[in-house]
């Protein structure tokens, strides 16, 4: 079965509003990354967390390894935030086998 369950699969937000994306893990993960995939297909690094919370501008991410989940909060959404967001979680250090969620397709509406 899937080791990373990402939700929601799709999300529409009006400009200026916010929401949260979530990833649940079925096994113990040591680190999580969040990416935004743009229209070209490039993966933009948003966050890498081994624990706790990080914030960058309008984005904030939390990783709780004990409760096996991670969240990505987007506030004050802008049109350029549209794209597909992926979480990826790794269970090992050194060699990293990151398991990707199925992605959240975010559309920001003017």
């Amino acid at each position: 079965g899937d080791q990373v369950e990402q939700s929601p699969s799709a999300l529409s937000l009006h400009e200026g509003t916010g929401s949260a994306l979530r990833c649940n893990f079925t096994t113990t993960m040591r680190a999580v990354q969040w990416f935004q995939q743009n229209s070209r297909g490039s993966l933009i690094n948003l966050f890498y967390l081994a624990s706790g919370t990080k914030e960058n501008g309008r984005l904030k991410s939390t990783f709780n390894s004990k409760e096996s989940y991670s969240t990505l909060h987007i506030r004050d959404a802008q049109l350029e935030d549209s794209g597909t967001y992926f979480c990826a979680a790794g269970s090992n250090t050194g060699y990293q086998n990151f398991y990707f969620g199925k992605g959240t397709s975010l559309t920001v509406i003017p």
Partner: protein, 115 residues
């Protein structure tokens, strides 16, 4: 600063033809290297990883092979393409064993269309 470059940007190939995709990392010695594949509209799936020159491990069998001829180079190839090989191929690197973090850094990707 480290940079990762993939080539070609896009390819249109016929079923049964050979394929070679490449990836070069500059500014980082002895990185761990990875190939990922993404079907259109799908998630990313790890195909291969390599922790050192000449050593490649397969994660998923897709009738593809990978090689690491140099410390900074990772090659994905096949002698006979299948329709199912279409998709987006991404190369990534992370710090090697003992490195500060295991964070993945991706290249820009190569889009493959098999007809």
């Amino acid at each position: 600063a480290q940079t990762i470059h993939q080539w070609p940007v896009a390819e249109i190939k016929a079923v049964g033809s050979p394929l070679s995709l490449g990836c070069t990392i500059k500014g980082k010695s002895s990185p761990n290297l990875y190939w990922y594949w993404q079907a259109t509209g799908g998630t990313l799936q790890q195909l291969f990883y390599s922790i050192t020159v000449g050593q490649v491990e397969s994660v998923v069998q897709l009738n593809l092979s990978a090689s690491r001829p140099k410390d900074d180079q990772f090659i994905l190839s096949t002698e006979k393409l299948l329709l199912s090989h279409s998709g987006f191929y991404l190369c990534a690197w992370s710090h090697g064993l003992g490195g500060a973090t295991g964070q993945l850094y991706f290249g820009e990707g190569s889009k493959l269309t098999v007809l």
